[in-house]
Amino acid sequence: MTNVVEMKNITKVFPGVVANDQVNFELKKGEIHVLLGENGAGKTTLMNILYGLYEQTDGDIFIKGQLQKIKDPSVAISLGIGMVHQHFMLVEPFTVTENIILGSETHKGFANSVLDLETANKKVKEISELYGLAVDPSAKIQDISVGMQQRVEILKTLYRGAEILILDEPTAVLTPQEIDELGEILKKLVEQDKSIILITHKLKEVMAMSDRVTVIRRGKVIETLDKNNTNIDELAELMVGRKVNLKVDKKTHEKDGDVVLKVEGLMAEDNRGSHALKGVDFEVKSGEIFAIAGVDGNGQGQLVEVLTGLRKSTGGSFSIKGVDLSHATTKEILKNSVAHIPEDRHKRGLVLQHSLAENGILGNHLDEPFSKNGLLDENEIHAYSKKLIDEYDVRTPSERVQANALSGGNQQKFIVAREINRHPELIIASQPTRGVDVGAIEFIHRKLVEQRDQGKAILLVSLELDEVMALADRIAVIYDGKIVGVVEGSEANERELGIMMAGGNAKA
């Protein structure tokens, strides 16, 4: 087999940091090649260079044996390279076809001034049948599922004649079943002589989908392996650079804790005014981790926002330790021993321009000893932040630096430190390890389990099924704004949960 892509000695230097250091990467014709590495390892940078979004500082790129200078994405597209980004770039109110042809429209009529949607529709249908990418060309993007939207993105690249496909973290938003389907699609594409690069940090997918895998760590290629000659544990070790404990150790939980959070018939709308929560009931007891699993966009976000006072409910109620807080403000809810690790640390969790010290008192700033009679006590505030930084091993030069100077993992550790130090009865952890490195994931998981063992009630909302299965004592699956089932963590299996996440009935 010939190499369709050869990247030789690629170095990319950003001011003060080497993102890619003498990287060599080869893609054979007709293979699925996984680029594996932690967040920030440099895998996306490397692919952005290949797609022309960045220019390499040093090194050469050969496409089908020819030396090429890829100055911008239009050059990449003309060379037959297509990229599907992690966040889809689709126009929601447009139809599938309109999105696919955007930027390379077909024309007809006088002076080619009329958009020829018929021809386009036909061509889209042809391509989708050829590769088994079933989509409805006339459906609007806003009406189709995330899995479908991803197909549209793939079709978009194929429509432009891509031979080499780059998929950046394609499974992040999919259910287990959709991930399987994606695997099938990729196999069909490879059968048609396409070559595929898959960027991911999920080890299971490597084993399921790839032919070969290249591990990147700290901007350097560690090794390129044949999938058949390796295993998950070896890959994990190569990726992180040390032995990793993928299992979370925890004792069996006390089944008869007191009910801390009681949610009854809770309803809420999303920002567009449609019903996002359609009557949710559950209880979280002390000493347990209660997880809500589900595909993104099924009401998890609204649920967390309502429970933390950030969104008004439209019906139903919830109470914490018997106190009804259905209509309470965020301030009152925080006062009732609730801590909240938000899903988006940049949007909610931190004021990035504030110093760590100032962030350390967010939510506690009106309480003694941090302030008295409206005056801040800087000594107390700084001492407190230093304590958080020490106890949670937050890597920072001091508590005086702005929060945005820290890496994602350290920011997240700081937030977890702040929230746990609130000494809450209930911790609402929403995607607590999103986008952080394996080291931080291990640490945060350990801290959550520690809190559980101390008798705290923990509501974990996560899109990562692995995380849910590793941590939860009980698992509820949310689909379309409703809890479709609750299973014991010890009895849960991925297949069953996956079916429920897609709205199916697991018992049937």
């Binding site: 003060g16 403000t329 938000p342 909610r348 969790g349 990035l352 967010l362 945005n404 993992g409 931080a440």
Partner: protein, 371 residues
């Protein structure tokens, strides 16, 4: 402890480095325009500075010009700290003048040790009321404060003109001919000229208003950085979502910040009326202090101490241009210099995005290297 102090000084130097450079560059570019008009830039700048800081009485006039700019600069800056662009400082200033002059008439029998204080408070209330309108609309209904407050500028201007022409006109209150200005502030209600304490201020009308302005800047600094109120205002300004998450009410802080901003603008009006003009004239256009306040706040980076410095700079330019003009150099040069300073500083705000992103990336990766 020592190193912390040093790092604080370093941060301070870092933050004024750019404005200083912008000012130097603006003067250099201004020099080309002066040469273009056929004049000697060194001579021109010599006149500019001798006219503004050449002797104590000229410096007094510079301080006088800087006084309202400190207040309006603080007004804009405080709003901006909460993420608000209070472009309505003009209107709030006008309301401050009207409230102060009305108070001067109503309380004309009050003794001198208390009346100026009352008039200042009234001016602040006037500005605060006028700013409360866009504040509450933004907080409760999400209405854009820029549009509302621009419109309220004109509303304030014409309301003030109406009041000066009818209610507060000397012809109505005292009899006699119709005048184009209001009744006067009684003598005991006026601020004292500094020349009464320091005779070398000479003819300059600079008054205790400048002292009040400096104290106000210190108070605002204290509020912003040492109180929970300031913490909440700054948090909302930086990141309303995170503030909400931390139990901080966005609506409350937006309204409050707008009201404080308006009170500062109203103070600017009151200080001008009881310190310099002693009456309110009918006007065909905006007084302009509010718009200058935007520039002052921008150059001062919305920091109270920076605003003090940049108001002084604008005072120097405004006061020095007269002497420059007498020497035959078009005073528009000063306008050009002001504009270039603003362009440079605004450009930094734009330009800083790129390095910011790179910096973020580099720091991120560095951290990851440690992990």
């Amino acid at each position: 402890m020592q190193s912390q102090k040093e790092s604080k000084i370093k941060v301070a130097i870092d933050s004024i480095k750019f404005p200083l450079l912008a000012i130097v560059f603006a003067f250099i570019i201004g020099a080309f325009f002066i040469i273009w008009t056929g004049n000697n830039p060194i001579m021109a700048y010599g006149e500019l500075f001798s006219g503004s800081i050449g002797n104590i009485s000229r410096f007094g006039e510079t301080l006088l010009k800087a006084t309202p700019l400190i207040f309006t600069g603080l007004a804009v800056g405080f709003g901006y700290r909460c993420g608000l662009f209070n472009i309505g400082v003009e209107g709030q200033y006008i309301f401050g003048t009207i409230f102060a002059v009305s108070g001067g008439w109503v309380f004309r029998d009050m003794p001198g040790f208390i009346l100026p204080g009352i008039l200042l408070v009234l001016g602040a209330i006037g500005g605060a009321i006028w700013a409360f309108i866009p504040g509450i609309l933004k907080a409760k209904r999400g209405v854009n404060e820029v549009i509302i407050s621009i419109m309220l500028n004109y509303t304030a201007l014409y309301i003030a003109n109406y009041i000066v022409r009818s209610v507060l006109n000397p012809s109505i209150l005292l009899g006699g001919d119709k005048k184009a200005y209001s009744v006067m502030i009684p003598d005991q209600g006026r601020l004292t000229a500094l020349t009464e304490f320091i005779p070398s201020f000479g003819y300059s009308s600079v008054n205790t208003g400048i002292v009040i302005a400096i104290i106000m800047a210190l108070i605002i600094w204290f509020i912003l950085f040492k109180t929970t109120l300031g913490y909440e205002v700054r948090s909302v300004g930086f990141n309303p979502y995170a503030s909400e998450y931390g139990g901080i009410s966005i609506a409350k802080n937006i309204t409050l910040a707008m009201v404080i901003s308006g009170a500062l603008a109203g103070l600017a009006g009151a200080v001008t009326v009881i310190g310099l003009t002693f009456k309110v004239d009918m006007a065909s256009g905006m007084p302009g202090y509010g718009f200058d306040g935007i520039a002052v706040a921008l150059v001062g980076k919305n920091h109270p101490i920076g605003i003090l410095a940049s108001a002084l700079l604008f005072g120097i330019l405004k006061n020095g241009e007269r002497k420059m003009q007498i020497a035959g150099i078009p005073k528009e040069v000063v306008g050009i210099i002001q504009s270039i300073i603003i362009i440079f500083i605004a450009a930094e705000a734009i330009g800083s995005y790129l390095p910011d992103i790179k910096k973020k990336f580099s720091k991120k990766s560095k951290e990851e290297v440690q992990v």
